[in-house]
């Protein structure tokens, strides 16, 4: 047999494939544009975030020294003495000190008061960068006299000007500078605790440093010659750790700032990735239809001798090309959008943000766009291999059952792996990425199942008693070449993503807008000395304010847990106790009963100590976890130098969200009454006016007492949250835009499926109105059911996220969901009808000719 007359091993000519891919795509450019647009916004979001991330990283690297202001900083909440003091005095070539604490500031001119963070400074700090002030020289000159630098928002808030004075404790300072930015401080932090700088030599005069005052002692060092910081910090670390002090170097701050921002950028990248995934669903459905329309062309090519691999590659090249173009457009858009991001983030970062084109981000975005559009397009593309040349003779010739194609399962696997891996890169948690991927997979399957069920139910339900238009409209949902599955999945997934973003945003925002309404406490007075306890309470009563809680607070440390000390923990890494447990300074209280926000989870509550026996204490469950504590375990506390043996008698769950004093450790009565202590008083002020009058009276009579006005905190939080939600909304906009594009693309491509049928109906005499009703019914049903399913999944998904990821109560407003439902349903019908417009307005023959 002369088989050698045929060359079976013809090599694939890639140039010809490129040429054919270009030729084949020529008349489809407008349709291919729809594929492109589906991924543009996702890529734009990611490139913008990536570019911003790289710019911030560069800024952090460039400005790290100014963030910390020194080569080394050491801080703690105890005044160092003895050998520790000697060690601290021996470090660095230049030294500065700072004491910072919360205190009430009083502006004599306006008679306003406000809780501020007082920073008493001594020495040449900051050695790098500057305390940014207006006028500039005030940043250094204020240390020469009894002068203060006051946070700019605080000055604006109370209409205070340079030359006015501020009273801190018993001392009055002349305001000589507006503080624009303290070293390493972000706008958000400044909003919560506005900073006031005073020279340290006048700190004692304020009379604010008393027992129990929460003071942070910081020491700043500059080295004139380069020093091996790693070696130095390793050497001093054990001593500092023992004393509960922390150190920070330029490198450390660089890492911390980078890590903090990294978390934020990763979350936002995930939001961008959702937009991209949504776009990919659009790409997959568009390519699916595209391939279906290309069956005839592919069959002709196969007839002429094109190999199955060649046919596959021709369309693969097209998709890579489209993915590349879409990704490049997305990258350009993203690079433009990144200019807006510094405006969104300026309050969250403690340094000036620069904007530069990041080729790395652009490269990553383009690569990601091409890979992901290719992966998702691969599902419909692989079916090209099975298109038979026999389709040239009979168009209805069926190809292989796609579900039996092993390559299809390989593509599913690759997509799943890709999503897991990409999500892992953003979340750094395999479990989180697995849940994210499973969530998407589950949503996909639910939508597919609903689509399948819908087709079955419709087939059973529709009967001759229905009017022709209803019958025809609904039958379109299950007849051959129907769009039910594709549209259901793409519209449903878009709705779901958009809805989840809305829900989570509203849950998080709702969670933080803690209401200070009713009789709940909305003002906290702390640092009240024991001797001032009754006078402060009387002052409140005189102003007509209720004493909701008056709690004694004792400061102590943990010395031993079951005979294990901090030193033992240092030596033995197998001990399951967190290091911070020994370093932390606890503020505890004593009482004979549980408070409203507490619930026992283990052990027995003992309200009164028995003389001569170990003291029974109640431990909060998170501390119990960190310290590996069980009922009966022994803890030795150090109460201001006195060793106090105790045992764990109960473990409590505490609702920290409630506005009241909550404690990690609660002692019974009869133990700590004589220990050095201060008091906290909780009251409810009915209005801002009463609040201001009361605060003025407190500051005048008890300058050491600090006041937290919850109303003020809430307004600051509200401002902060609106900034955060603006950022989230900004990123979500990409998903929403993509969802709309996918919706338009899905319906637009379905036009080509419906066109032949509608033309046939028109030819047979159907009126314009009849076609319109049939189309509207089909799309209305598809749109509303997809949206409804998507929203239902979003409810479930957001509930899971609220419960397990954010751990907040699930509260959701139904109005946005309802609005979204109507928008999606109506949009589906409108786009569906717009697609049919061409069929309705032109003679059938003209359409048949142009689509032939």
């Amino acid at each position: 047999m002369e088989t050698n007359t045929v060359n079976y091993h013809r090599k694939i000519n890639f140039r010809w494939l490129l040429n054919m891919a270009w030729r084949d795509s020529r008349k489809n450019h407008s349709r291919l544009f729809l594929f492109i647009s589906a991924i543009v916004f996702g890529i734009a979001a990611l490139v913008a975030i990536y570019s911003f991330k790289y710019n911030v990283q560069n800024d952090i690297n460039g400005q790290a020294a100014t963030l910390i202001g020194a080569d080394l900083s050491i801080s703690g909440n105890k005044l160092p003495t003895g050998s520790l003091k000697q060690l601290l005095d021996s470090l660095g070539d230049e030294r500065s000190q700072e004491r910072s604490f919360a205190s009430m500031a009083y502006f004599p001119k306006s008679k306003d008061t406000r809780l501020v963070q007082v920073r008493a400074l001594q020495g040449g700090f900051p050695y790098y960068g500057a305390i940014e002030t207006t006028p500039v020289e005030a940043g250094t000159s204020f240390k020469k006299g009894k002068m203060a630098l006051v946070d700019k928002t605080l000055m604006l808030q109370f209409n205070v000007h340079l030359g006015d004075s501020i009273k801190i404790g018993n001392s009055q300072f002349l305001i000589t500078g507006i503080l624009n930015r303290a070293p390493g401080q972000s706008g958000v932090v400044a909003g919560i605790a506005p900073v006031v700088y005073i020279p340290m030599q006048y700190l004692a005069q304020t009379g604010l440093l008393k027992i129990g005052s929460r003071v942070n002692y910081s020491f700043f060092y500059k080295y004139r010659k380069p020093v091996n910081m790693d070696r130095l910090t390793k050497k001093i670390d054990p001593t500092l750790d023992k004393a509960g002090m922390r150190y920070e170097t330029v490198e450390g701050r660089k890492e911390n700032t980078g890590r903090n921002f990294g978390d934020l950028s990763k979350f936002l990248s995930l939001v961008g990735f959702v937009a991209l995934l949504l776009g990919c669903v659009g790409v997959a459905s568009a390519v699916h239809i595209y391939v279906r329309e290309k069956i005839a062309s592919i069959a002709i090519m196969r007839c002429l001798g094109v190999k199955s691999a060649e046919a596959f590659l021709i369309y693969l090249i097209q998709i890579v090309g489209i993915g590349l173009i879409g990704s490049v457009i997305g990258a350009v858009l993203g690079t433009a959008i990144q200019h807006l991001l510094p405006l969104l983030f300026k309050d969250f970062l403690p340094f000036a943000i620069s904007v530069q084109i990041s080729w790395m981000a652009i490269g990553q975005g383009i690569l990601l766009g091409v890979i992901i559009s290719l992966l998702f397009a691969m599902l419909p593309l692989i079916s090209i291999r099975n298109i038979s040349p026999l389709n040239t003779l009979r168009m209805s010739f069926d190809t292989v059952n796609p579900s039996r194609d092993p390559l299809r399962w390989l593509v599913y696997l690759l997509i799943t792996l890709f999503i897991i891996c990409f999500t892992y890169l953003q979340l750094n948690s395999w479990l989180g990425s697995l849940f994210f991927t499973l969530g998407i997979l589950a949503a996909f399957m639910i939508l597919a199942a609903v689509a399948w069920l819908l087709m079955r139910v419709m087939k059973l339900l529709i009967n001759d008693s229905w009017s022709y238009l209803w019958r025809q409209g609904f039958a379109n949902l299950y007849r051959p070449n129907n769009q039910t599955l594709i549209l259901m999945v793409s519209i449903g997934l878009s709705t779901m993503f958009i809805c989840i973003l809305f829900f989570i945003q509203s849950i998080l925002i709702g969670q933080v807008s803690l209401s200070a309404s009713g009789n709940q406490s909305n003002m906290i007075l702390f640092d009240i000395q024991n001797s001032q306890k009754d006078s402060v309470a009387n002052l409140a009563r005189k102003q007509g304010l209720p004493i909701l809680q008056q709690v004694p607070i004792v400061t102590l440390r943990i010395e031993q847990i079951n005979s294990i000390t901090a030193a033992d923990l240092q030596k033995d890494s197998t001990i399951k106790i967190s290091h911070g447990v020994f370093a932390y300074e606890y503020r505890v209280t004593f009482r004979d009963s549980l408070s409203e926000s507490e619930k026992l989870t283990d052990g027995t509550w003992i309200g009164k100590a028995q003389p001569g026996k170990d003291v029974p204490v109640s431990v909060e469950e998170n501390l119990a976890k960190r310290a590996n504590l069980k009922i009966g375990d022994k803890i030795v506390f150090n109460v201001q130098g006195v060793q106090m043996p105790t045992h764990v008698s109960s473990i409590r769950k505490v609702n920290w969200g409630k506005v009241q004093t909550n404690f990690q450790v609660v002692f019974p009565t009869g133990v700590l009454e004589d220990a050095p202590q201060f008091q906290v008083l909780l009251t409810h002020v009915p209005s801002n006016k009463v609040s201001a009058t009361f605060q003025r009276a407190v500051v005048r009579n008890f300058p050491n007492v600090s006041i937290i006005d919850l109303g003020l905190i809430l307004s600051v939080l509200d401002e902060l949250l609106s900034k955060i939600s603006y950022v989230i909304r900004f990123m979500s906009a990409f998903s929403i835009l993509t969802g709309v594009v996918v919706l338009i693309a899905s319906l637009r491509i379905s036009k080509y499926q419906r066109i032949q049928e509608s033309v046939l109906l028109r030819t047979l005499g159907a009126s314009r109105k009849q076609i319109l009703v049939i189309t509207a019914l089909e799309y209305l049903f598809l749109g509303s059911l997809s949206a409804l399913t998507g929203i239902a999944i979003a409810f479930g998904g957001s509930w899971l996220l609220a419960k397990y990821s954010f751990e907040v109560p699930y509260t959701v407003s139904y109005l946005p969901a309802l609005i979204l439902f109507f928008i999606i349903s109506i949009l589906t019908v409108i786009i569906g009808l717009l697609n049919s417009r061409g069929i309705l307005n032109k003679p059938p023959l003209e359409i048949l000719r142009t689509n032939a």
Binding site: V6, L304, G305, K307, S308, T392
Partner: protein, 229 residues
Amino acid sequence: METILNITNLSKTYQSAGRTLTVLSDINFTIVTGSTNAIVGPSGSGKTTLLGLCAGLDRSSSGSVQLNNINLSNLTEDQRAQVRNQHVGFIFQNFQLLPTLTALENVMVPLELRNEKNIKAKALDLLDKVGLAERGHHYPSQLSGGEQQRVSLARAFSNAPKILFADEPTGNLDAETSEKVVKLIFDLNKEAGTTLVLVTHDLDLAAKTQRIIRIKGGKLIADEKTING
């Protein structure tokens, strides 16, 4: 005389709704190189299925198809594609031009696949032979049915096929155009010395060939020479 196509005990069955549907049953015939042949029969008789099997577009359920001494039954789909590219030409009832390619590009495709030289000149020459040299840059949708079929004809002859299969080549054309296209098919066939197998229900067209094979209900019922034979 040399045989180009040898059909032995050829059968084709399909599974439909759990039942076996026999479309072709035990067909046997041979086609001599350079001859012109027509397969005729009523609608649903299996003539298009037979053409598909003869041309290697489909695989038989049993029996064999030997085209130019190559047993198509033993080949994979991709190998059959190579056989089609190197030995077979096609003309279809609905022309089957690639809609996104111009007339010239459509004619060039088989030549490009064979990696030939002077492709454009050859394709233009073929278009000239079918009278469409001036329409090479037009897309199929810009051409009339007759013109599309002539482009299809030029494409069919572009790879100098040993055998040309035509499925109802005039089925979509009016009488006048049909006559021109038929003349062109026979003229080009004669000039190139190609074997022609055409499937038709048009007995006048069939009578222009040298031999008529009649099938009915999937069976070969007659095989006769015409006055041209």
